[in-house]
Assembly symmetry: C3
Homo-oligomer: 141 residues x 3
């Protein structure tokens, strides 16, 4: 992992074979980033992602081993149990340029991982919301 | 709807059953945001979206009732007829992680709606462009 | 091409028939933007895009002539051989709202091209990485 910094904006290069979510989360902790925004592109493999089944309050998941283009990575950083936590959704494309997408659990960089992170100087947190079954943003209390 | 503010950057939580475009547009009016950028992720339903048919100068539209992941929401805020107006495109994914996408008219939050809005301190506006058939950015006059 | 500026943030309107990558790259040069972030939406045609074949170290490419919604454009600006260079990935949707995606070589604006560019005041550069076969971010040397 390498990065460049301009104030609260970071260009982050996650390198081949590095796990994206783990690497970016560790970066937030090391830089004291509690809230923020991340977006990115690249090429990834070992992609563990899914969609939320609200009725059964659990994720349906798929794992793709092969190399896919990371056509879009969009996410936010919010405190969960006192630690910065990244929530990110992706779209990916294969060699036919067909696209899949969902909630990202983890993926490894297959070729390059190019991210831009903006630290937001707020203290927003997530709390478990039993109606949704997820840790949801809770900014009022 | 709940939000956190850091200068011109807002983290906005649009809550279950709230209409995204209406809620975000109202937020822009209440905060005097004339120009800006919005991105977001979440899970949505009652999705009214489409693609522009330039030849016939009208949108083809589809309505999806079920819950879909909001894999990407990207948009801008520009003045139209003196009011802030959001132009946003989305991609969404289903439980097979298959993806659809297009121009967003409106969608309701199905589980969570997590947005980051950056106010841009300019006064860009849209004017109707008869060649395109749409209100297009017009920054020169 | 028209734009509005708020400090290091630019709203850029790439107009019908203008080539997106060439127009935005020329804009970076004219504004002395060495590093930055770009995102955007619109409607495009003559879309030259692809996916990276790591094994053979070359892109597989497709060319779509027709008008597609530009559902997501995400990219960064990094120096390559001393000049600002844009790396961007897109997703696009057709009139069935089906989505394709990949690495963008070039596309023309079919109806409108609406971009937001943020200049980042760093000097990050790309160097050729023979293991990957691409010019990759190289921030350490």
């Amino acid at each position: 992992m390498q990065f460049k910094q301009d104030g609260n904006t970071f260009i982050i290069y996650v390198e081949q074979n590095e796990p994206i979510m783990e690497t970016l989360t560790q970066f937030c902790k090391s830089q004291n980033i509690d809230n923020g925004q991340i977006s990115g592109i690249g090429a990834v493999r070992e992609i563990d992602f899914g969609a939320y089944d609200l009725e059964n309050k659990k994720y349906v998941r798929q794992l793709f081993d092969n190399l896919w283009e990371l056509t879009s990575f969009q996410g936010n950083i919010i405190l969960k149990n006192g630690e910065p936590s990244i929530h990110a959704h992706i779209t990916i494309s294969d060699h036919n340029l067909d696209v899949k997408g969902g909630h990202l659990f983890e993926a490894k960089v297959g070729a390059v991982g190019e991210f831009i992170l903006k630290k937001i100087e707020t203290n927003g947190k997530r709390e478990f919301d039993p109606r949704i079954g997820l840790f949801c943003m809770e900014f009022n209390n």
